[in-house]
Amino acid sequence: MGSIDVILIALRNLFKHKLRTFLTVLGVVVGTSSIVIMISLGIAMNESFDKQLDQMGDLTVLEVYNPAYWGEKSDLVINNASIGEIRKIEGVKSATAVVEGYLKFKCGRYVASVNVKGIDAESMEDLGYKTAEGRLLDKSDENQLNIVFGDEIPYNFEKPGARNNYYGGMEETEEREPPKIDAINDKMQMSYDSNFGEKVVAAEEESKNTKPVKPYNVKVVGVLEDNNDYKTKYYAFMSISELEKIQKAEARFNRDVNGMREDNNSAKKGYQSLLIKCADIDVVASVTESLSDMGYEVYSQMDYVNNMKEIAGSLQALLGAIGGVSLFISAIGITNTMIMSIYERTREIGIMKVIGATLSDIKRLFLLEAIIIGFMGGVIGVLLSYGVSAVLNNVELSFLSMMSSEEGNDISTIPLWLSICSLFFSSVVGLVSGYFPARRAMKLSSLSAIKTE
């Protein structure tokens, strides 16, 4: 029997038993669409996970905190000697101490309070930072009051007294007002005095009864590009030695004016933290381990990433298993239908054998019927999945959007390869579930088949 004839006869048989065929196909539809939707959830989860990874910034940058600095009891001190040691670890590209300060900036009529990180000016390029405007700090900035702003900082400049509302997520809205200042070209001043630039209440000024703090004239040489990394976005960067000088001046000022005692231990305490850049992502684990062995407490985004990967992986396995079970059930449905159909058509099979059908003709005929059921179920199931996927993405059930963390992300993504694979897979399910019934049909004795009335 020719292939086209097998197909036509198989279709004819399926069409004759419309209801039964429909119900069996329906089983496959449910199976296919549940597996496709489950996988599509997993894929969407991976995509938002990748997006999140992007937002986490550079995974090859490790952060080491200095417990001593924060007053914890620890034998470890992070100072220049320890930085030298860390630089010797294999896989470390560069390492810099970090000192953080909170300073007031003034530009024309506008002021902003800014977290400033003092780092090794040289290391800025190594850390992988990129500017949208201007340039990064380099060796020449070591002894200069030159500053690089994170991309959010220019938006912080407001008239004195205006509330800073940038942390309220304002940066997400599209029609945000442009920054009020041109950070690079405008004249910029900086001070450790938190009242700098503000209208000070007269009574307060009187009580202080002192000369105002002299501000530093600084130059903003660059603004970082928007990289979604909160560890750079909301910070300004400058040379560590310059920032330390400023902090010393601040301490002196506090002692003289406010009578606070100078913190003499600062040398003992060392730096606040370290930033360590690894050569590439593959050495991150080994560098982290070496640092831990040396007793440092390392904060690496990799831990979080690995955790997330593990959770996402097991969640996806669970989703896949649910889909797999329903497809398995629909496979049983196909087998059942085919066996029923063979009981019903015993006589027909016998007749076909008597008038010249070979064993393989019979087998092919029944296998093909099963494959067609699987394939049709696959096609309808995939179409249905696209529909369900669209609904899910529009409705955003709270439970599901929780899983995909970011708002505006799709909950369910069905790439083309998934649809094609499911069509193939559902056909294979048809083939496998039709195999046993087809063999059974083939082995029927034509004579006893004809005798059954």
Binding site: M1, M352, V354, L359, E453
Partner: protein
């Protein structure tokens, strides 16, 4: 030269602990182009003999040699191929496929034989016309009378132009008038094509169509006699 040769053919069915000897050491020869009738009472073993000649059942002992080939030595696939080429079969209960039209039912043996679509449709159509079903070509079995269904079944048996036609009580379900029409038709076509026709029946009247009447009794050949041959081929 005989086209069918049967040597001491025996068929024993196990029924529980007993053994039923349906056919007991039968030897026969049949010649090309002749009409044979296996005549006997119900249960005498006629169908058993016919089924074994058509390769639908394996003999317990003995040989079935058709056109020089030993059927008892063939496997199922070889038998299927052999039937495609050499054998047409008419059943008592028509045995048409209910989902298919008359034309499609007649085309089926040609489909299994991989005859190209154009040729097989033409042949099947011609065959249906020659059995008098010109205006029933697109009808399904359910839409036809018993006589018409049997005509379709006859068309299906002959469409391959096989050398041998087996018919097991082909008129068993039909009234007398239709029975005679059917016998006229089936014998006429086989004579026109010089085919060997073997008819199983318990009806003496039908045996009158045959060249040779083989009386079967208790699984044995009782006697063989010349038939009256009601119709002579005038061609």
């Amino acid at each position: 030269m005989s086209i069918i040769k049967i040597n001491s053919l025996t068929k024993i069915y196990p029924v529980g602990n007993e053994k039923v000897t349906a056919l007991d050491n039968v030897s026969l020869e049949m010649e090309k182009g002749k009409i044979y009738c296996l005549l006997g009472t119900s249960g005498s073993g006629k169908s058993t003999l016919l089924n074994m000649m058509a390769g639908l059942e394996k003999p317990t002992r003995g040989q079935i040699i058709i056109k020089g080939s030993h059927l008892e030595k063939m496997n199922e696939n070889q038998l299927a191929k052999f039937r495609q080429k050499n054998i047409g079969f008419v059943f008592q209960s028509y045995n048409l496929l209910p989902a298919f039209t008359a034309l499609e039912n007649v085309t089926l043996p040609l489909i299994f034989k991989k005859v190209p679509k154009r040729i097989r449709e033409k042949k099947a159509r011609e065959m249906l016309i020659s059995v008098g079903l010109k205006d029933r070509i697109k009808h399904t079995p359910a839409q036809m009378s018993g006589g018409q269904q049997q005509r379709v079944s006859i068309a299906r048996a002959f469409v391959n132009n096989p050398d041998i036609i087996f018919a097991d009580e082909p008129t068993g379900n039909l009234d007398t008038k239709t029975t005679l029409e059917m016998m006229d038709l089936i014998t006429k076509i086989s004579m026109e094509n010089n085919q060997t026709l073997v008819i199983v029946t318990h009806d003496l009247e039908i045996s009158e169509y045959a060249d040779v009447i083989i009386h079967i009794r208790d699984g044995k050949v009782d006697r063989v006699e010349e038939g009256k041959k009601k119709i002579e081929y005038k061609g």
